[in-house]
């Protein structure tokens, strides 16, 4: 008789707890990818995460690493302060689009421009999730949200902000890539990008940011299945996937 072997386990980087995320939300997948990468790179025990304000505010309950809980948008400033004093540690911020691209725009741009040696996981689902579906800086033109019930009017609110494109305009070397997690092949690519981002940090090379297109079935008013297709058909065309910058210069 063949002996049974375990081939799929909870990563060391995640705690054995149930998350509060809504059904169909991809935070769980993204958490897992980060945790797997920390395991594979063998850095979990010297990693510090910085949680944002937003749906992932309780990320510190799910990751099995030390954590700081930041004021809204300020995670890059906390990460800067910590990493400057502990360059031997691995530091990542985990931020949503309201946190990073609205209230925290100044902190992320300046951290990227200083070339701070930490990694940002930027989860973009084009809406404020935790506060109940308000318009985000990444909400698509015409997209309905509770604070733009007739659909986003870009004549009054501007066009959605593309963070990877915006940050790639900085001259300081960085690694910037946009990925998605709505289909399995995208998940595999997303993990590679996250791994590459942490690898650059381990090599003390540059600031790294991986933007992950995510879903919000609850506030989009769609089923989980509809949501994955909405990412494919709408989010992805406005937020093209790909590598936007590498410290080597070439894409």
């Amino acid at each position: 008789m063949q002996s049974l072997t375990t081939t799929f386990t909870r990563p060391e980087g995640l705690q054995d707890v149930v998350t509060h995320y809504c059904p169909g939300c991809t935070h769980g997948i993204i958490h897992r990818l980060v945790a797997e990468v920390l395991d594979e790179l063998g850095v979990r025990e010297r990693t510090l995460g910085v949680a944002p304000v937003g749906c992932s505010v309780l990320a510190y309950n799910y990751f099995n690493t030390d954590f700081l809980e930041s004021p809204h948008g300020r995670a890059p400033a906390l990460a800067t302060g910590f990493k400057r004093l502990r360059p031997d540690m691995i530091v990542f911020t985990y931020q949503g689009d309201g946190d990073l691209a609205s209230i925290g725009m100044s902190e992320i741009i300046h951290a990227a421009n200083r070339g701070e040696k930490f990694t940002t996981i930027f989860v973009n689902n084009a809406i404020y999730g935790m506060t109940g579906g308000q318009m985000a800086p990444t909400t698509l033109a015409g997209q309905v949200a509770t604070t733009c019930p007739m659909g986003r009017d870009t004549g009054k609110t501007g066009m959605p902000i593309r963070m990877c494109e915006l940050l790639s305009g900085l001259v300081t070397p960085a690694y910037l890539e946009r990925v998605a997690v709505h289909f399995p092949q995208q998940i595999i690519k997303a993990k590679k990008a996250i791994r590459r981002a942490f690898q650059y940090q381990i090599e003390n090379k540059c600031f790294s940011l991986v933007e992950v297109l995510s879903t919000c079935p609850t506030n989009w008013g769609k089923t989980p299945a509809e949501s994955t297709h909405w990412v494919e058909e709408n989010l992805k065309s406005y937020f093209p996937l790909g590598v936007y910058k590498t410290p080597e210069g070439a894409k």
Partner: protein, 362 residues
Amino acid sequence: MAKILMKGNEAIAEAAVRAGAVNYFAYPITPQNEVGEYLARRLPEVGGVFLQAESEVAVGNMLFGAASTGKRVFTTSSSPGISLMQEAISYMAGAQLPVVLLNIMRGGPGLGGILPAQSDYFQATKGGGHGDYRLLVLAPSTIQEAVDLTMLAFHLADKYRNPVMIIGDGMIGQMMEPVEFPDSYTEPELPPKTWAATGADGRKPQVVKSLFLDPIALEKNNILLHEKYQAMKREEIRFECYKTAPKNKILLVAYGTMARICQTAIDELEGEGISVGLFRPITCFPFPEEALYAEATKSNIETVLTIEMSMGQMVEDVERVVARQRPVKFFGRTGGIVPSPEEVIQQIKQILASGQPTKVKV
């Protein structure tokens, strides 16, 4: 060590380094820029971190991150900059992070001016940020005292795991005076910083946070913080009495630079045969309540006169403490105008003659 002549801002910077605080985050603002300029040269010499941030909002939050390592960290700023840090100050108080903040106060409100003022007393002692928290607030009146209190501030921040704010005014920052640094700096032993984030290596993850979604847990945290503030009230009260004597009819109450000007006025009045004493809070929080009450309610005291470089902020604490046992009068100048000893003398004479101070005419 021999005395050296130093500008207040630079002396404070050196004092921090001597106290083992070599990690500094700041944003330029007048009238305290010499601190950052001094440390930009000094900190690399001692293996410290100097970082000029993009804003005071970022400074406060960098301090949050940096203090979470367990190392000593600090910033210096002036009134509008300190306003921008209130977010992080509230979070750091909630998360019980030791950090030292120096406010070289300038005139407000708004952009105000760049000259000395004491109009951030409320902000420093009563909150400033949101939530139930207090800062331990120290107010030096000489450059030497600024040096001594700066060194003490780091110890107190660690001891109570709480932000400590030093409030000086523009005079303290810009004035030059001879100062002496101790040859070797020692302080009472403190417990190890087991709360610091150092990596979950062989232990459960450590989280530094001010978020408590469970109301019971949040109230518990507030009670814990409150108990620390009560402990500060028991153990950290600091004040000084100057020429308080049984024949005095008036007790002056002033802090910082204003207290020094009062001392000059008191000395001059002494030459005219008029005896006046001064009560000088060194800790503005905890406020020296019992000591002030005892001085103010001595049978010889007829009037308490509070003098500030503000429209009257500390005077509310004085009124609270004296609790109508004596008339509490106020005199203040603002806008960066520092009252002269002559003005103080005039106010004292006016009170002795009529019981009332005179109004400022501009």
